[in-house]
């Protein structure tokens, strides 16, 4: 708190309405430090809100898994563990490359920053492509709820397995949408990075996007075991 006041006083001494040397400080803030702390806190509040957003889906998952455990085992067996596992590895690697991108931005390495951001984008696309193949496989096997879902093997549990797949598509679909939004932001950031817009002073946009990307990775870290790895023994 006191550091902030000190910075506040110093900025005052410079000029209350003039802009900071690098033209980055917004008028309502008094110091770059205050601006960075404010945007970090704002991003974390947004990530907490996103966690609650997925929380609703996980509540439905927990309730129906408690009510119909067998249907969840049957449903989970229809999913392709190999593709799921590869996707988990892809997403964890993209988390690493994102973290390295943040590091490069903080240490002023422009070319490495652009490289790592591009790698993260490519890994994101890889994830989405694998997801596309998984979904295509489900459409082929009539496992999509609403489109005359049929799984004769499940017999009387077919209704409950359709519930499992409703949640499967809701959770992985919502996760994929967040991946697509992330990829979109990356496509905006990469040209900016290439032009050297992100300097050690102005690196927190990359940090904030990093928070979002790592959050989306954490959602998948929970989705993978809960959906793919049920009753595999």
């Amino acid at each position: 708190m006191s550091a902030e006041m000190h910075a506040h006083g110093a900025a005052l001494a410079a000029d209350s309405h003039g802009h900071h040397a690098s033209g980055v400080l917004q008028h309502q803030f008094d110091s770059l430090e205050q601006q960075r702390d404010a945007s970090t806190l704002g991003m974390w509040a947004f990530v907490a809100q996103e966690a609650m957003f997925f929380g609703g889906l996980f509540t439905a998952y927990i309730v129906y898994r408690f009510l119909y455990p067998d249907a969840y085992h049957i449903g989970s067996h229809q999913l392709n563990v190999v593709l799921g596992g590869i996707n988990t590895a892809v997403l964890i690697s993209s988390s690493l490359t994102m973290a390295l991108a943040v590091w490069s931005a903080q240490t002023g390495r422009r070319r490495q920053l652009t490289a790592w951001l591009t790698t993260t984008l490519l890994l994101g696309f890889a994830f989405l492509v694998i997801k596309y193949f998984e979904y295509r496989e489900k459409f082929a096997h009539h496992l999509v709820p609403g489109l005359h879902f049929s799984l004769p093997a499940a017999g009387a549990e077919e209704g409950h397995v359709q519930l499992f797949f409703s949640l499967y598509f809701a959770m992985t679909g919502m996760h994929a949408i967040h991946m697509i939004i992330g990829a979109g932001i990356l496509m905006v950031y990469i040209p900016m990075a290439a032009r050297g817009k992100f300097t050690p002073e102005y690196s927190h946009p990359v940090e904030l996007f990093g928070l979002y990307w790592h959050f989306v990775d954490i959602v998948w870290i929970f989705l993978f075991p809960l959906l793919y790895l049920l009753g595999r023994y």
Binding site: A48, F66, L96, A99, W103, H204, H214, L229
Partner: protein, 120 residues
């Protein structure tokens, strides 16, 4: 804008806490190993609740690693930690109390309790 080759944390007064690359690589390997472990464990029967317990613990450890190191919460202000903890707390409240409704449906003792009727 001159490229700065300095690597010591103190050299970037305005940059946030800079975490060395080797920490990121260590966390990455831990995550990959844990993913392999959870898949391996999933294919072995450990008795009814244990498979789920192990899967959840591994997922939680991975998530904590990502939060602490990749998302810099280990070096962040107390307010950021409060955001994380409050989200987790209210999620657990939502899961827990909703689940208690469905759990209590299956517990006969609570549902069909024969109490004496002094009402008549």
């Amino acid at each position: 804008m001159p490229r700065l080759h300095l690597d010591k944390p103190g050299d970037y007064p305005l940059a946030h806490h800079v975490i060395p690359v080797r920490t990121y690589l260590a966390v990455f390997t831990a995550l990959i190993v844990l993913t392999g472990l959870t898949v391996f464990v999933a294919f072995h029967h450990l008795g009814d609740p244990w498979n789920d317990v192990v899967a959840i613990t591994i997922a939680l450890t991975k998530a904590t690693l990502v939060v602490l190191f990749f998302m810099h919460v280990k070096y962040s202000t107390a307010m950021v930690r409060l955001c994380v903890i409050s989200a987790i707390f209210f999620l657990l409240m939502l899961f827990g109390i909703t689940w208690s409704d469905y759990w209590a449906r299956k517990v006969p003792a609570i549902r069909v309790q024969q109490t004496t009727y002094d009402v008549r």
